[in-house]
Every structure is written in structure tokens, then in C-alpha cells.
Symmetry: C2
Subunit: 256 residues, 2 copies
Amino acid sequence: MGRVISIANQKGGVGKTTTSINLAGGLALSRKRVLMIDLDPQGNASSGVGIPLTERTPSIYNALIGECPLSDVIRPTETGRLFVAPATRDLIGAEVELVDQPDRAEYLRRAVEPIVDDYDYIIIDCPPSLGLLTVNGLTAAKTVLVPLQAEYYALEGLSQLLETVRLVAGAYNPDLELEGIVLTMVDRRTNLCRQVEDEVRGHFGEQVFETVIPRNVRLSEAPSFGQTIFRYDIRCIGAESYLSLAREMIRRDRKE
Amino acid sequence: MGRVISIANQKGGVGKTTTSINLAGGLALSRKRVLMIDLDPQGNASSGVGIPLTERTPSIYNALIGECPLSDVIRPTETGRLFVAPATRDLIGAEVELVDQPDRAEYLRRAVEPIVDDYDYIIIDCPPSLGLLTVNGLTAAKTVLVPLQAEYYALEGLSQLLETVRLVAGAYNPDLELEGIVLTMVDRRTNLCRQVEDEVRGHFGEQVFETVIPRNVRLSEAPSFGQTIFRYDIRCIGAESYLSLAREMIRRDRKE
Ligand SMILES: Nc1ncnc2c1ncn2[C@@H]1O[C@H](COP(=O)(O)OP(=O)(O)OP(=O)(O)O)[C@@H](O)[C@H]1O
Ligand SMILES: Nc1ncnc2c1ncn2[C@@H]1O[C@H](COP(=O)(O)OP(=O)(O)OP(=O)(O)O)[C@@H](O)[C@H]1O
Ligand SMILES: [Mg+2]
Ligand SMILES: [Mg+2]
């Protein structure tokens, strides 16, 4: 049974897409079979693994509204064992089209069900909002991974996100749990970063991954080549930390 | 007649809120009377100028749906001549509540009209999406200022944003123009940053502000004290660059 994990945080620019792509890459490197679903109309996760805009038809939008099965949308990437269901701007329309449907939160879960056993992990990259797309992502998932930038605004938004996770669990998905919190763009030279890390570990303890993702310019260069960090520069600290995150996640999942 | 400027970009974490607060602060320092409207349910612009969550009733949500006039929501800040209309999470509900109304894009413009002449500048901080709240922000505005992080994904999203601006102008606000593009979190030591800047200036020329905002940790520390950069550390490069941005904007507005 594939483990479905949503990468969510309504705060913008905290590293959701970078974590989706490189955690998925790290899991594939660890011999897991992985599907990444791009649920953001910006389509950053799709271009970050090299799927040009012209090759995204059909896209996750078509599968979400039931026009075709998800299997018709899934494509291979340059990385072995890593597949992607790409997104286009059409996805913006889904939020308006589905809002009046009584089962509006369950469209993605229904699309994922038929193929969930074909993968060890399914990673869903969510947009920076708590709207219907993210609610679909949380309803389809078994757990949610929260990338947290070590900054003030990101910390401020955390309680709102965790409350939404509880609401979605109560209304649509009782099994939904927190996979964990991963600190991103960490620069331990600054006071602010150290303060945020201390506060988060103090408050959330074990739920915070030991692995942190440091600020590393190679991570922001890789998407312009459509490559995961492992294909772009496997020796950099960004690749090392995402591989360590993938390994830590596999270890934690085994303990369950 | 107050100049209404929306700060918008659907890409998350590019510096919309930081630019809203510190441009508004820089304009107030230049003896302009300024209102900042927080249109993001995250409420970052409100906390960034020190309005606690408990002091945001009524909020922009109540004025937007017509429950009270905007003048009832406006509060002073620690900075002279700078006022704010704060946001709360209720704002998330507005997107769903207004979606079926025929004039759903015009709620903010109607709320702003009665008070527009009381200010020299009205700055609207938009959320990271192209949904109904941002459309309301673009419909109420005379111009739109686009903060652009010098990174690949931010550049990729620019064409989508400018297309949305054209669509909103055509449908709801024919006078809407681009105030300009301002490069944020600039670190000219990296190749990526220099490449993005060259590409943007090559393509958009005069529409890109000469002033760039460098990456400066003081800018990310100030919000945890609820202060603009000018009250937090007026001598830092972050304060200098936002004051220069405000001055450049005033100069450009005079030329029109
Ligand atoms: N650890 C890191 N070091 C350096 N740059 C990073 C790191 N993680 C992400 N970035 C860069 O920071 C920017 C924001 O990251 P990303 O787009 O992954 O965040 P996001 O949360 O998915 O944003 P959005 O809210 O728009 O979906 C991107 O330009 C990315 O390349
Ligand atoms: N020039 C800068 N130098 C250093 N840090 C910055 C700078 N500008 C913004 N930041 C920090 O980067 C993060 C993102 O900025 P900000 O929240 O202003 O972006 P935003 O576009 O408003 O995000 P959202 O899409 O969530 O609304 C914040 O933690 C902020 O403090
Ligand atoms: Mg993203
Ligand atoms: Mg913001």
C-alpha cells in the first residue's frame, strides 16, 4: 500500500516544491517507487523535473475532475523510479468548479485510489493556500509533511495550518496525521534562525525531523535545468540533506 | 486623489508583505499619508506593523462584505502618517461567500471609494494566489507593483501574473497599469541572481525599478517586533533600499 504524503503550508515560498521534488528524488535513489503529484496551478514541481508546458496534456486537472484516469496523466522523469502527474494553470478553474459539489474535498482521493498500490510513496505538492486544492491534498493523504522556513511569518502561520489539518481530519479523513515538520533554508549563523529552531523543537519535539535543509544556492539553480538536486549536483550540501531526509523518513515509517 | 497600488504576485514568499510594510513606511517617512490594506488571510502585514490578533475586530473582512465602512477598520500604527486595515483568517471565507455574486470582483473597490481622498497612497498586500481576493485587489487599484525574487520559479510565474493583470483590466478595471517590477532578496554574488536580473531588465526595461532590495537579515527580524525596518534599524541596508524605493516611486509618479 503506497504511503500518500501531502507537502503543505499556506505560507508562501517556504520550500514546499523544493522539498517535494528532492524528497521524491531521494526516495527514488533509496530504491522506492515514487509518484509526485503537482497540485499547484503554478506548475513549479512539473517544470522542476523537466516537464515542459507543452507536454502536460492531459494534466492533473483532467484527472481531478474525472475526465480521465490518473494513470493517463502519469509520466516518467529522467530519474529512475520517479514519476510525475504534472499541473497546468487549468487547475485554478477546479477550485471554482468544485466548490458547489457536496463531495468537493474527495476528488483527488478518488483519482488516486486506483493507482495507490503501484507506488511505495506518493508525494503531493500543494499550493500556498488553504483552499479547496490543499483540502483535496489533505483528504487524499495519509500524512502531511510541513516544510517550515526558519523565519517569523512562517512560524506565525504554523498554528493556522495545524488547525486546518485537524479540521480536514475531522470532516473528511480521520486517519490523517502529521508526518513531521522539516526546517528549510536554515542558516544557523543568524539569531532568528536559531531562535525559531529552538522554539519549534521545544514545542513539537519528536515531530520535527532531525535532518534540516540548509540554505544552498544549488537547490535554487537546479529547477532552471529541470533536474532534481541529485542529477544537478549530487555532491552539494542540498543533495546530502535531502538524501538524509529521505532516509530518516524511511526509518521512521518502518518503526510504525 | 489617493494613488491605490496593489502589491501582487501569486508566487509565494517573494517579499510582497515585506515590500508592502516597508514601502508604506518609506512613503510615510517621505511625508506622505499612507493606508496599508492587508488582504491576506495570513495577516502577516497586520502583525508586521504590530497589530495583535486580538485587536483586529472589525477587520478588512467586515468592510469587504459590507458589514461596516472601511473607516471603522482603519487603525494608526507606531509610525506617523501610516495607517492599517488589518486582516484575520475570516478573510478565507470571503472567497467562498462572494464567488456566486455577479459583482464579486468589486467589493474592495466599493469599500475603498469613500476614503480614497484621505490618503496620498493606499498600499494593498495581496495573498499568494490569483483567486478572488487578489482579483479584488487588482480591481480596486490604479496600478500594480510586482515584487520579483531573483530566482527561477519566480521568473516562471511572471507571465501568468501579467496575463491575469491584463484579464482583470479588460473585465473590471480598464485603467489598471503596471506600477513596476522591483527585484527582491537580491544577492549579486550568485550567477542565478545576476542572470535573472539581466533577463528581467532586458525584457521589461524602464518598468523595472532601478532600486533593488538586497537580501538583508534585518528585514526578516523586524516583523517579530511588529516594526517597520525604519523603526527597527534605520541604518541597515534594508531600510536604505526601501527608502530609496519610496523616493523613486514618488519621482516616477510626478513625471506622469
Ligand atoms: N534550501 C534552499 N536553499 C536555497 N534556496 C532554496 C531552498 N529551498 C528553496 N529554495 C528556493 O527558494 C524559493 C522558494 O522555494 P519553493 O518554490 O520550493 O517554495 P514553495 O513553498 O513551494 O513556494 P510556493 O508557496 O510559491 O509554492 C525557490 O526559488 C527555491 O528555488
Ligand atoms: N530582502 C529580504 N532580505 C531577507 N529576508 C527577506 C527579505 N524580504 C523578505 N524576507 C523574508 O522572506 C520571507 C518571505 O517574505 P514575505 O513574507 O514578505 O513574502 P510574501 O511574498 O509576502 O509571502 P506570501 O506569499 O506568503 O505572502 C519572510 O520571512 C521575510 O521576512
Ligand atoms: Mg511551490
Ligand atoms: Mg505576504
